[in-house]
């Protein structure tokens, strides 16, 4: 053994020479010299670079991952497991497992740690294969997305065409039923007049559904634009109230309005916001108990207005609330009349409100009524 004292792990008690200089300066091999207690006396360049630590003077455990309990060199040396492994915490953050050969050196030990090349090769192959599989799966996913997009466009096209073609005959049925009720009812029995009323009501409902289909197909196809103008919230509420007044009167439901004077002047597409209000009001009337009261209110917020319609109906359970604003989720709430809705009204309302830069909300508990509403920015949105 040489008496020279190289700076690396070989010294002061270790050997020296060109081979050792390679180990100390260049090799991708961890070489550390420790004393009997596991204190690091010297470490080569690779060990320091790998861990990002100076290492000398620190316990061997300092370069390892912290698992349960502190690392003990005597315990580790006494463990019969082979190959000896050390899980090193690297400077890059990814742990690395080293296979370690231990050689006695002076009063302590020299530890030579290397990565298991075969394991690395297997790992690399597996990662590459998994990446290929993932790429193929995302290719299939992109393809399926494109096909779904095409099918959705086809659905909207069909919906729009069907609704467009049905609207005229439905309107004719409605008009002639009304004409017959007005002009020919005298010659009919009470039962026959009842039939005509049923035809009129059904045709009216059918036209409403067809209008919803048309709205949805336009919105989904992206052919939905806003004509933003100045409008008075009170006028919009009044127009909606007039539209639902007949059905409210039929069920004896009263509509009470209390609007905040500060938030009435809006920059909105008036007819569309009126459509939202009509939808909320007619839902509230339909879900109210007979002889109940529907309350319309508004409050000016800092830069927005909050508008709501409240009823004393059966209310909405929490798990149903999330689906209320989705198209065709009409099974979510049964009307007071027991009739099922196709569930487009709220989906359309939401699209209109969101197009204005606002949002819809619902507050309700089963058994204690429901409060539906929207918040609109006062500047008309972006």
């Amino acid at each position: 053994m040489t008496q020279a004292e190289p700076a690396g792990p070989a010294g002061p008690a270790g050997p020296a020479g060109p081979g050792w200089r390679f180990l100390e300066d260049s090799a991708s091999l961890v070489v550390v010299r420790v004393d009997q207690a596991g204190k690091i006396l010297a470490a080569n360049r690779h060990a320091r670079a790998l861990t990002g630590l100076s290492l000398v003077g620190q316990p061997l455990g300092a370069m390892l991952l912290e698992f349960a309990g502190a690392f003990s060199l005597p315990d580790w040396l006494g463990d019969a497991a082979r190959p000896r492994l050390l899980n090193v915490a690297t400077a890059g953050g990814l742990p690395q497992t080293l296979q370690v050969t231990v050689e006695p050196a002076g009063d302590g030990y020299l530890l030579f740690g290397q990565v298991d090349a075969e394991e690395q090769e297997r790992l690399r192959r597996d990662v590459l294969e998994l990446n290929h599989e993932l790429s193929n799966l995302s290719r299939e996913l992109a393809l399926k997305n494109a096909e779904l997009g095409r099918l959705n466009a086809l659905k909207n096209q069909f919906l729009g065409m069907a609704a467009h073609d049905l609207r005229k005959p439905a309107g004719l049925i409605l008009s002639y039923a009304e004409l017959l009720i007005d002009e020919a009812a005298i010659g009919l029995t009470v039962e026959q007049q009842g039939f005509l009323q049923t035809i009129r009501t059904a045709a009216d409902r059918m036209r409403g559904v067809i209008d919803d289909f048309l709205d949805v197909s336009l919105i989904e196809a992206g052919r939905f634009s806003l004509d933003v103008q100045r409008a008075d919230l009170a006028d919009l509420v009044e127009a909606a109230r007039t539209l639902v007044a007949p059905s409210a009167a039929k069920r004896g439901v009263r509509i009470a309005t209390a609007l905040d004077p500060a938030g009435r002047a809006l920059l909105v597409d008036g007819p569309k916001i009126e459509q939202v209000l009509t939808n909320l009001l007619s839902n509230a009337v339909e879900h109210s108990p007979a002889e109940g009261c529907v309350r319309v209110g508004s409050r000016r917020l800092e830069s927005a207005v909050r508008v709501w319609v409240a009823d004393d109906g059966a209310g909405v359970a929490a798990q149903q609330r999330a689906r209320l604003f989705q198209a065709f989720a009409g099974d979510a709430v049964a009307k007071a009349s027991g009739e099922r809705s196709i569930g487009l009204g709220l989906a359309i309302a939401r699209k209109i409100v969101e197009a204005h830069g606002g949002r819809m909300f619902v507050e309700s508990e089963p058994g204690s009524g429901a409060l539906f509403g929207f918040i609109l920015p006062m500047n008309g949105g972006s």
Partner: protein, 220 residues
């Protein structure tokens, strides 16, 4: 109307290649996103950026200039970038005919095959892609299921030629009239051995040639 300047310039290619060799995924992604925003032609992107850069990386690897890790990372980055583009690739296709692209058994270099399948989609075909190391029974089963107009087999390692010939034998035995295209890096310096034995098999030397074949098929 102004004449559009080509967006995929030599400068962009050089910058992309440098980023790819450095394993700089973020820079490569940014460059591709810029090109997509500038409405680069998708075929140009595949052929003049992805393929060209990968061929260059492969060449540097063969000359011992870059490590296999660099080559693998460049492949993985390109695969990741393809997912950015694929939504556009699939959005326009009409898919009247189907083509099945597969890498034969033991072939793990599947990126070329996937790009070929995507380019078929751009041509309006439904490009099924079976991926690396396709077991022969899986290939035969998909052919039965989908009844494609064409089958394309990719081979990048010449020493896997026996697996390719085995696949050709099996496919032609089951579907004697089904045209089969073969191609890939394995054919850079050689043709198809015993080509005369496979009258329905054509060697496709380039993506342009493939495109011509698809157009010719469409034209009847």
């Amino acid at each position: 109307m102004q004449t559009a300047e080509p967006v995929l310039t030599e400068l962009v290619y050089e910058e992309y290649l440098a980023a790819l060799l450095a394993g700089d995924r973020a820079r490569c992604t940014a460059l591709v996103e810029e090109l997509l925003a500038a409405d680069v032609g998708l075929k140009d992107l595949y052929v003049h950026l992805f393929q060209r850069a990968l061929y260059r990386v492969g060449e540097l690897w063969e000359r011992q200039r870059v490590s296999v890790a660099v080559e693998h990372l460049a492949t993985a980055i390109t695969e990741r970038l393809l997912t950015l583009v694929q939504a556009r690739v699939f959005s326009g296709a009409t898919r009247e005919h189907a083509i099945i692209i597969a890498c034969v058994a033991n072939e793990y270099h599947d990126l070329g095959g996937r790009m070929v399948a995507d380019l078929c989609e751009l041509q309006g075909w439904r490009g099924f892609f079976l991926g690396a190391d396709t077991p022969l029974p899986d290939l035969l089963r998909l052919i039965e299921e989908q009844r494609p107009a064409l089958v394309g087999l990719s081979l990048s390692i010449y020493f896997n030629m026996p697996a390719l010939l085995e696949a050709l034998d099996a496919v032609t035995a089951a579907h004697p009239d089904l045209p089969i295209l073969v191609g890939g890096q394995a054919f850079r310096w050689t043709g198809l051995p015993a080509a005369a034995a496979y009258p329905n098999v054509s060697l496709i030397a380039s993506l342009n040639e493939l495109e011509q074949r698809l157009v010719a098929y469409d034209a009847g």
